[in-house]
Structure formats: C-alpha cells, structure tokens
Symmetry: C2
Subunit: 457 residues, 2 copies
C-alpha cells in the first residue's frame, strides 16, 4: 500500500478534521461532576459513532461501574501485528469559569489554536488517531496493521474502573504494542516520546473545630481555629528544602541514575524562559535536583485547593467551624499509592492538633510508569515522528499521571509508547486550554506513518 | 411619674413588641455586601418611621459617605440629664446559608426564641430601647430624662464613617451618659454590665504564585504553591503557646491587674460546659491565662476565611495561581489598630517566601475600650438591672468589638454603659442567630427602670 496518497488525503481534509474536532469538544464530559453524568454518556455514544464513521469495523460501548469505555477495532490485516490505541474522552472541570476568555465548551479558534476544555487533554489526541485511521481507510480501504482503540471516561478521576475492564477483556485487548497520545511534546517543533510518568495519590483533608461558626470576637482566644490547624498541618508536609516530611515517603523511590541525569541534562531546557512562561517570581523545587528531574523523576506534593470560613467581599468576623484541603502527591515508579496513603494518614494523625477533629478521605491513586526504551517499538516510533515532523524525536518523561499505563503494561505485557502531540503550556487542567492546530495536523500525519512503521515490527 | 403603669404597659404589649421586631428583622440590611445597599437604606427609613411611631419628637436620616445614620430624640425633660442610646441596624452576612434551619430573613419563633439574622445583633436590642421609650411615652406622654438615639448602618464593617458623623455633630449628640445594648449577658439569668471591649484589626492576604492555574502533574515540583506559602505564613503568625509572633505586637498591651484577675476568677465559669457548648474536642488559648482572660483581656488572632484552587467535588489536579485569607486580630485597649497593621505588614513581608507575590489589604480596624466603673452611671445601671431582672448584675468584659465606643468616649467625654441583653451562644455572626424572647422582655423592663435611675444621677 502506498502511503503518499494517505498523507495527501490528510492534508486535503485538514480543515474538516478541525471542524470535526469542534463537535467533540462541545460535549461537556466532565467526569468528576455528578451533574455531567449524562454528558459523559452522550460523549461516549458520540465517539462510538465517530469510530464507525472513520471506517472501523466494529465499535461498542462497554459499561463499567462508573463511566463507560468506548471500544473500536479494525482487524483485517491478516498476519500483521496489532496496536492498541488508548485515549480518554472525559475532561477536567472548568472552574474558575470567569478566567476563560471564551466558553470552555464552545471551541474558539484564535491564532492557529483551538481553545476549549479537552482540546489537547485528550479529545484532540483521540482525534489524531481517528483521523489517521480515517485517512488510511478512505484511501486504501485498509490499514497496514490491526487496530484496537479504547477510550475511557474516567481518566481525570483516576481510571477507577479501567483495571476491571482490562481484567475482564484480556483476550479482546490482546495486542503487540500500545500507543497513548496524552502527554506533551518537550516543546514546539520537537517531537517527543515519553518513557516515564508519575503516579498519583489524591486526598481530601477535613477539619472541624467547633459545632458551628463562632463570633471571632466573643470566642477568639478560647478555641483552636481549624484554618490555623490546617495551615499548621500543610506547613509540616514539606520542609524548607522542598522534601516531603511524611516518614517513609521516600523508602521506595528509585534514585536517578547517572545516565539518566546526563540524558536529562542534555535536553535544551531554559530555566529562565520556563519561569517567565509560568509567571512565578522564582521557581521552587526539591533542593539537589534539576527542574526536569523534579518534574519527571522525583515525587512531589501539592495542595490543589483549600477552603474554610468567609470568602466574600468585606470583613466577616468568624472563627469557622470547618476547614478543608485537597492534597495531591505525584509519585514515581515503584511508589505504591496505597502505601503512600497509609503513611500520609498516619502522619496526619500524628501531627493533627488535639483541639480539632481531622479526617482523611482518599479520592484516588495510580501507579507511576517507566518504560524499557530498547524495545523495537520505540525505534519504529522514532522513525515515524522523524518522517511526520521532519525533525529528530527526543526521549522525555512527564510529571503528570496516566494511571492506566502501568496497569496496562502489567496486564497485557506489551510495550507502551507515549507519543503525545500537546505542548507543555497548553493549559491542560487550567482555564483557556488550547491545542496547537499545526501539531494536530502533524500528529495525524505522524500517526499515519506510525501504523506503517509498527506494521513492520 | 409613676413607673408601675409603664411596666404594665410593656407587659401587656409583650406579644406585639415581638411581632413588631419580626418586621425589622425581615429587612436584609447586610452592610458588607454591595448587593444589599438598597436594603440597608430601606432599613434606615423603616427605623426612622418606627422612632417617630414610638413617640420620639424628631427622627432623621443623616447621610454619610457610606450607609446612613438614623437619629431620633426626645428632649422635653427640662433640667434632667440626657442619655445617648446607640445601636446598629446593619447585620452580618448570612453564609453559609445552607446551615440555617429557617431562612435568615424570615424570623421564626421556636421554643421561646426568635431565629433570624440580626435578632440579637443588634436589631432586637435597638427595639428593647424603642419599646421602653414607647412604654413611657404611651403611658405618661413623657420620659423621665432626655433621650438621643442613634443607630448606625456600618457597625459590622468597622463603623467607618461614624467618627466623622460624631465630629460633625458634637453639639447634637451632647449627653451626660451613653447606653449601648450590643453585648451579651454573662449567662441567662445573670444581668451584666460590660466595662471592656476588644479592638479590631482586619486584613486580607492575597498570594499569587503563577499567572494562572497549573497542571499539578506537569508543574508539580518546579513552583511554589501559593496555598503552601499561605499555610506557612499562617502557621508562623502564632507560636505553640498561642502567642502572636508578630514582633512588637504586645508592646502596648496592658498587663491584667491582680484585682481584675481576682474579679474575673470569681465569675461562675465552667470550662467543660463552655467546651461542650462550643463543640470543640478541646479548648485552646494563650498559655498562662484563664479562658475569660484570653477572651476579654488578651489580644488574639484568627483566620476568618481561606480560599484558593479547587473546592468542588472530586479530584481536580491543579496548582492554583492564587490563595487568599481573611485575618482578624482582636486587640485590647491601648493597642492601636493602625500600628498593629504596620507591624503585621512588616512581618508578612519578612516571612513571605520569595517565590510568591504577597499583598496585604487593610479591611478595617477599631480601638478597644475599658471603662472607669466608679462613675455613678454604673451604679444606676446596677440598680436598674436588679429591678428589671430581680437579680444582682455582674461586671464583665467582652471579646468582641464595637469600634465606636472608644471613639464616642474620646469625643463626647461621657461614661458609656454597655448593657446588653443577648446571650453568648445566640450565634451572632453565625447561622441560626437567635434572640431569647424572655430576655427581650426583661431588657425592655430593665430599660424602663434604667431611664428613671439615670434621671436621678
């Protein structure tokens, strides 16, 4: 099969591929919010239809105890290997809504970018593959290899039911390699293969000081304020060097090897440019490590949200009854989220002031991942990206988490390629998320090449 | 003039006096919220009309740069002293609204209590005086002394424009003593004269770490989280002994005298009962002082609210761009709120981590107050309360603030009696604020006596 005409098809239909993506982004498939439960299902149905329209032989909704999984396949490449493509059709919440320059679910195109929730994370990247598949099938009526495509609806809430789905459908999902497009490129013009992800352990801390809010004058001086107690707890979670203070937390952390330290140091990273891009007065990370090491190969802890008492205009004088915080830890491979949860709970119990009630809710967790890049699939990916972008691909890691990846590697025993077409500053999880439309197009073309390269493995 | 018939009038009309109060509480005169600005004005107009209906000779709205002051007078008691009555018709915000058992501005009567925002703080107590005045004037057509009555609309936001009003109306407000009913009784059945109040200094802390929210995976480990920075700042504001750590903060604090220590220790205070009433696992206050000393005669610091990042259901994984807190300090007499503000700002600048931008907004401040109880007005008050309640009055202080009091004492050079008819657990500033209706009635009767006692001074 001749590939040039497939590339031409993709180039000729590039505007329609953009228009098609708009429809997908318009569905507010926020998986964490119960008010969007019907939207999530509608999005799954929509994607199933689009899989069939792209030419896949079969597409189906698989129920789980949570949001459904969408599965599609094309298996007519006899004697050829099978690739399993994974993506997620659910998206992050949109608040703070007032910071969006255009509504999150009304995709807007400005300066070669598509703005909207899910444009890059991960709907645009699902469509990269769907459009590459469509291009092959439209041009030749067949693909160079067999394709299985799964899209889950719970990635942003910890892929809670995907492991069970995987266990129950081992035969169905059997493949020779997996491809996931949900990680960023190192920077624009630098196609990237990601070989490592961090894990995640996410908690909510709930504190109660009194049975109800108290007048801060009449009661101030007699009770422990739960916001103070929460601040004391949070301030004890890390020391001044940026190290996490939970006893035992680093026990399972694998040290960074000399080779990896050298490889990461060789990447063209400009600290001052990064700082400016983030907009922080200064950077802050664990002492003794480079920024990339802290982002990719060291665990970290962040408070993702905090609330308690009066947040309005003016001056309400109360001692609040309650205070709350969301605490997220990014773990590295070999750290177990359950064990980290146990260590965290024990530490919170130890340091919680006796004058308040403290409880820990475990919201979700997932393993980290690191790949063996010597597998031939990684070389196939390198060649495909070189052809698609006309530039040499780099090997990187990523600080974010895709909990499913390690589970998939463990269950299916296949190599997993993380080839993403997003950019690090595309505001995934933040207001004004966007997708670079040139990368969208180059991603489709690279994927067209990728299927051919993997077919030869 | 015979007083017995005045008391009878008040007793006969006790139900109507309750019904009348309902109308007053129904007006949502929340002074801190710009959306209630018209309600605050409507409340002032309403009160002006009620002053005239109670029989005062004159009532008028005085404009200020903020919410208006309502002034009323009855000056026909020739050769008799003049009492200046002060109250405030504005109320605290109502959130968290969902914790109210009945709507805050639809007063509900349950078990001898009236529930609603402002019932005790301070609308019910304004009405105690208005109904005592009405009883005298209905029965005898005159009062035993001259009365001037002011009600302001900005007490809950720091009485910002009252000092100017006072300065501009010194002649109008000239009196021999002042009476304020806005403080609680020590406990039910124990009529109380308050001789001390704490001052107030209220701030908002605003922190910014990055120009927008960041993905906690992709950026976690490279930047300082503003919630962490805020937690570190808050945790450094007090030490483990409960002392405030701001350098210079205690410089102007007058130590508690041996006599006052003995007097306060003699009050029937049950620490365990207090703890249970508050609903805290344990009490917490500055070491080395009793609970009452910490509440009344020692300064304190509380965070009244905190917010930043994701507060919704589930697990959004971000590093927020901003974090905020409302910080309130209760000061003791001789501490200057402006100076405390300077010390606070300097300390915040000193301890703020360099990786975040921190700013301090000064929201409001007010002086503390302590009275010379040897003035004859205090004896008059004791006699009136003894007659009204049939029980001996106690001398107490109060941890809350009425910034106007010290200003009034300084400007008018008159003794100020703080005689309140609320109870400490009536949820002023909290959901389900209530007023004990027996105290409302006894307050009216005691005030009828009080005017007669003060007339003889």
């Amino acid at each position: 099969m001749e590939i040039k005409s497939v590339i031409s098809f993709a180039e000729k239909h590039s505007q329609r591929f953009i228009d098609d993506l708009v429809e997908f982004v318009e569905i507010p498939s926020v998986s964490s919010s119960s008010e969007h439960i019907d939207d999530v299902r509608r999005c799954a149905e929509f994607l199933k239809d689009k899989m069939l329209q792209s030419g896949l032989q079969r597409a189906e909704i698989f129920e789980t105890a949570g949001h459904p999984v969408v599965y599609g396949e094309w298996l007519a490449a006899e004697g050829k290997p099978t690739v399993l493509i994974y993506g997620h059709y659910d998206v992050q919440p949109v608040d703070p809504l007032e910071l969006w320059e255009s509504p999150p679910f009304e995709p807007a195109i400005r300066n070669g970018r598509m703005y909207g929730r899910g444009t890059v994370d991960d709907k645009g990247q699902i469509y990269v593959h769907l459009k590459a598949i469509e291009s092959w099938l439209s041009e030749h009526g067949q693909l160079p290899l067999n394709v299985k495509f799964i899209a889950e609806g719970e990635e942003e809430i910890g892929s809670e039911h995907l492991e069970e789905f995987l266990e129950n459908n081992r035969e169905l999902l059997k493949a020779d390699s997996a491809v996931i497009s949900d990680t960023p490129m190192f920077k624009k013009g630098m196609p990237s293969i990601c070989y490592g992800l961090r894990g995640l352990a996410y908690f909510q801390l709930n504190l109660r000081g009194s049975k109800q809010d108290l007048h801060s004058g009449s009661f101030g001086g007699a009770v422990k304020n739960p916001i103070h107690a929460l601040a004391e707890i949070i301030s004890q979670l890390k020391d001044e060097s940026g190290q996490i203070s939970i006893p035992g937390f680093y026990d399972d952390v694998i040290p960074i090897s000399k080779k990896e330290h050298a490889d990461l140091s060789a990447l063209p990273f400009d600290k001052e440019e990064y700082r400016e891009d983030v907009g922080a007065p200064a950077l802050f990370g664990e002492k003794g490590y480079s920024v990339l090491e802290n982002l990719w190969a060291r665990p970290t802890l962040d408070v993702c949200g905090i609330w308690g008492g009066f947040q309005g205009e003016g001056a309400k004088t109360i001692i609040p009854a309650e205070a709350h915080a969301k605490v997220s830890m990014r773990l590295v491979p070999n750290q177990n989220p359950e064990r980290v949860g146990d260590l965290f709970e024990a530490f919170i119990k130890e340091i919680a002031p006796p004058e308040v009630e403290v409880s820990v809710e475990r919201l979700h967790g997932g393993d980290g991942f690191v790949a063996d890049v010597s597998h031939p699939a990684f070389n196939a990916a390198k060649r495909a990206l070189q052809k698609g972008f006309g530039k040499k691909a780099v090997f990187i890691r990523e600080g974010g988490s895709i909990p499913f990846v390690q589970t998939m590697v463990d269950t299916l025993k296949i190599p997993c390629l993380l080839i993403g077409f997003g950019l690090p500053n595309e505001n995934a999880h933040a207001p004004n998320e966007w997708l670079d439309l040139e990368n969208y197009q180059l991603g489709i073309i690279s994927s067209i090449y990728l299927y051919e390269e993997l077919a030869q493995n």
